[in-house]
């Protein structure tokens, strides 16, 4: 790239010392500078289209107006793009830039990436996971300014930003209760308590907890919980099996839109119509939720909000503590929930 003008150039062209130029351009008022000199500096800077070299400045000030984001994967639906977008917008509003890195799921890669960021004097690091879980951030981050995005690290004195899954569970319950459902309600996906993840996932546990609680408060209850993985194939297989077993659910609470996708297929094959025969409420709000027929009522993961809140926390002055910030998950009302079928 073409060589850019430096502050020394500005100072020379304005006939003042670099010190004076620096104070004028930094807008500092703790040194007396005549209006005439100030104007000459400003004019010279404008004429030369002067822009400060942030690299040089960081060397002296130890601040680079730069944040690092380390995540496990930025690819996996439904996180990723939107999280980054939210973070980007918040960063840009405060005149910061974002380094994006990913470990690709390799825990050993974390240290290397964090070091690469620290080598470049980032002011802070956002450590992110693409589904909510407990993590163990690399020790290099200890003592630094860190925010955990969509993950928790007990004992690390860093704030976490996670979706409010408990309240989302309550919301799902209220949607169903509001439509008149009190029985025949099934969870498809449950807590994700599979052989591989016997304790379930954070999101699963919290949602079921909120769902149970609010259902009970409304005088209803879950009829059953099908534990399975959260992909389209699982929704298809499990709902099909449920129907084949003679069950006749009145409402499905699907763990993800992908599960709902599969559930729709199984219901269609069985000749059941949504929402006339079976209501479906879901979580995530992926793109295709609105393309399904009927469009899916779902509770959105607040991707971009998570990114935005994380950046704002990290850039707001003041110390960080280990608070867990729960970001609301908005309900998208579409057409997959209706009153219970008369024979329900």
């Amino acid at each position: 790239m073409p060589r850019r003008g430096t502050m020394a150039d500005v100072a020379r062209s304005a006939g003042v010392s670099p010190t004076t130029a620096s104070f004028v351009l930094a807008g500092r008022t703790d040194m007396r500078i005549s209006d005439a000199a100030r104007q000459r500096v400003l004019e010279a800077a404008r004429a030369l289209a002067y822009r400060p070299n942030v690299t040089a400045r960081s060397l002296r000030t130890r601040s680079s107006r730069t944040i690092g984001l380390v995540s496990d994967t930025i690819t996996t639906t439904p996180y990723a793009g939107e999280v980054i977008r939210g973070a980007l917008e918040a960063a840009r509003a405060r005149d910061h830039l974002l380094f994006i890195t990913e470990t690709g799921g390799d825990p050993a890669a974390g240290s290397g990436l964090v070091n690469a960021l620290l080598d470049r004097q980032v002011d802070a690091v956002i450590y992110a996971a693409m589904f909510t879980r407990h993590v163990d951030p690399p020790p290099e981050l200890d003592g630094g300014r860190v925010v955990l995005l969509n993950c928790l690290a007990p004992g690390r004195n860093a704030p976490s930003v996670v979706p409010d899954e408990i309240e989302a569970g309550r919301t799902a319950a209220r949607v169903l209760l509001g439509a008149g459902h009190t029985r025949g309600i099934w969870s498809i996906g449950g807590r994700h308590a599979l052989p591989a993840t016997p304790d379930g996932w954070f999101a699963g546990n919290e949602r079921i907890r909120g769902l149970d609680e609010a259902l009970r408060a409304g005088g209803a209850a879950l009829d059953g919980v099908v534990e399975c993985a959260w992909e389209a194939a699982d929704g298809y297989r499990e709902v099909r099996a449920l129907l084949a077993g003679g069950r006749r659910p009145g409402a499905l609470v699907c763990a993800t839109d992908r599960v709902s996708f599969g559930a729709y297929q199984a219901l269609a094959e069985a000749g059941l119509r949504v929402p006339d025969d079976v209501s479906v409420v879901s979580f995530d709000d992926q793109d295709f939720a609105s393309w399904l027929r009927p469009p899916l009522t779902t509770i959105a993961l607040p991707h971009s909000e998570l990114g935005r809140v994380a950046v704002e926390l990290i850039l707001d002055p003041g110390p960080l503590d280990a608070t867990v910030h729960r970001v609301p998950m908005p309900l998208r009302v579409r057409d997959s929930v209706g009153p219970p079928h008369e024979n329900g």
Copy 2:
């Protein structure tokens, strides 16, 4: 973050001058250094867990081992995450970090972001668009090391990396010809030649060109082209209208998986089965393509490849020229294409 050891610390601890430490740590052999001194420096660096400060180094060397990525949107399906992932992996393999920025579709934002990158001494900039099109990169990039990702800018002497849409069109034709289709072939989505985009989209034009060419070469031809936007709702509406108009297509070439998604719905409503009654071949390979029933045969946008190639181009030594690099689009054979229906 805790203060890190500097090269001066290493030099002091090894009992040599900073110059010697620098030469040893940089692995330079153009100055004679005794093995003893070399070992002492290496040992001291190890003991102090010394890592060079890239910011300080950049100031001197004018290279930051950092690349900037400027895109219009990183959100829009189907680009985004995978492009970034490909770029990230290639950058990491060469020990570089990536700044990600987005204009959010505001053309005026480009200059500001490019300046913010330049202020931080990025070595190069990738200018990306989320669907293939002509762009006008900010003038600040002139004279710099720039690669255009998924876009073209004639007259700017920067290489472009784009999907090979022409060959993808040919591939679609071959899939159909291979299954025995020679008539009743319809394009849904066409060139995207709508009132708003009368010249069509780059991808649309190229695909139709390749499709036409290979179909003709195989003794077949398109029966018709339905121009429409490329969303699910468009696919649904247009295929429905086609069928209502008494047409009975034997094979659909859908412009995107989203269009296919809608097409599937319209076909199902009309009681037509894929692929027994109608074959469908598509472009993009979004996630849900494999969840559809039957799974969709589609030609993938090589997202991560695009990102990877762009980074490799930009980091490979040597001058850049205005070559257009076409990245192959791989065919994903699934179950939506079969032999023509007997009454087809």
